[in-house]
């Protein structure tokens, strides 16, 4: 378990006064406050670090213990002692900072802090204070592209409660939907908080996606590109036969209307599938093929 230099975190000297600590803390807390750094995981982590450092250094008892034992904390016996000692109540946090992301999945305190000062003391400043409206929950759901090809219902378990969700077709990667009232309970008659679900969509198909449109490169043989013919192409709904015109250039784009991905919140509407023909120049010719090409060359083929 790694030692954390709380003085370094706050950018102060080991001999810093309580005032200096407070100033340094407030300055950094302002800088990393989640309300001023929306959707910034790094800022949130820094905010937690800074809060933890302040929790220790602004409390004379904790600071003393930290100064004395801090660096030697890797010693097994100290670790054991702390584990046995129950958290000494205390911890009226001097920060009073709150923020709205009480995801609950990440620890509020580092392992280092917990081993030295015991488990989560009532760190009042951490997480969302429930004053009336319940706290918001944040969840992440991993799905594959084909999972969102059709609107489907899924049952999720969040904090022990089952929620029946309707996942609309065509939802985008990293899109967040709000499920009202499925967050934590409110107090004193307040409404429940909301549940925010962020979807992580993995595309493991042969198609590239851009909204409701799909893109794919299709290789056609040189002879077919020159002479024309038919090819069979895979779409999301099965194979499609396509006519290739004679004299089709490499890079030619073809649009298959309505063969794309479902449009988000537009039931029954689909985007388009764009195919790009790639014509590979044949290598490793047989003797016969080579001589045929040489014959073609003699005809001054452009």
């Amino acid at each position: 378990m790694e030692f954390i230099d709380y003085y370094k975190v706050l950018g102060i000297d080991k001999s810093a006064t309580a005032d200096a600590i407070k100033k340094a803390y407030r300055k950094l807390a302002r800088k990393y406050h989640p309300d001023l750094n929306p959707n910034d995981k790094e800022a949130e982590l820094n905010f937690k670090k800074v809060n933890e450092a302040n929790e220790v250094l602004s409390d004379p008892e904790k600071r003393k213990k930290y100064d004395q034992y801090g660096k030697d904390w890797q010693h097994a016996d100290e670790f054991e002692k702390a584990k046995r000692a129950s958290s000494q109540g205390r911890s009226r946090s001097s920060s009073g900072y709150t923020y709205s992301h009480a995801g609950g999945s990440e620890q509020d305190f580092s392992d280092f802090f917990e081993s030295m000062f015991g488990g989560a003391s009532s760190f009042g400043g951490r997480g969302q204070k429930v004053r009336f409206r319940g706290e918001d929950y944040h969840a992440k759901l991993q799905l594959s592209l084909m999972d969102v090809y059709a609107t489907q219902k899924q049952t999720l378990t969040v904090n022990g409660k089952n929620i029946r969700l309707t996942i609309p077709a065509g939802i985008e990667d990293e899109q967040t939907i709000k499920v009202k009232g499925h967050g934590g309970p409110g107090i004193q008659g307040g409404p429940a908080g909301d549940l925010y679900i962020t979807f992580s969509i993995t595309n493991n198909t042969a198609f590239k996606r851009d909204g409701a449109d799909l893109y794919k490169a299709v290789q056609i043989p040189l002879t077919k590109a020159v002479l024309g013919g038919e090819i069979l192409v895979e779409t999301l709904t099965g194979k499609v036969k396509l006519k290739v015109a004679p004299g089709t250039n490499n890079g030619t784009k073809v649009k298959l209307k309505g063969k794309g991905f479902p449009k988000y919140k537009k039931e029954g509407e689909f985007g388009d599938l764009f195919l790009t023909y790639t014509v590979d120049i044949p290598k490793n010719l047989t003797e016969e093929q080579k001589s045929l090409f040489e014959a073609l060359e003699k005809t001054n083929l452009a």
Partner: protein, 97 residues
Amino acid sequence: MKQENYISVKTFCQHHGVKESFVYSMYEFELLQIDDSKEEALLSTDELPILEKMVRLHKELDINPEGVQAVYHLLQQVEGLQEEVAALKRKLDRFDF
């Protein structure tokens, strides 16, 4: 209009330890709506998440009402830009860079 979907400004302020004048400033700056058709000024519970954020900005970060308006405006711009960047990233994803 169900009563349980509204909270009085007074009650909100009591719970959150903030002055009513602050909430009225937010209303004055058009950052939220207040229903004062009844005897008591009411807030829709839909407005609570936003108002809670404003209270945090004011109480924890010592930002005055004018500042809150400015911050709120900037946050909307930031979040808009973040969405735009995310959409562009998805578009670029199409081209194997």
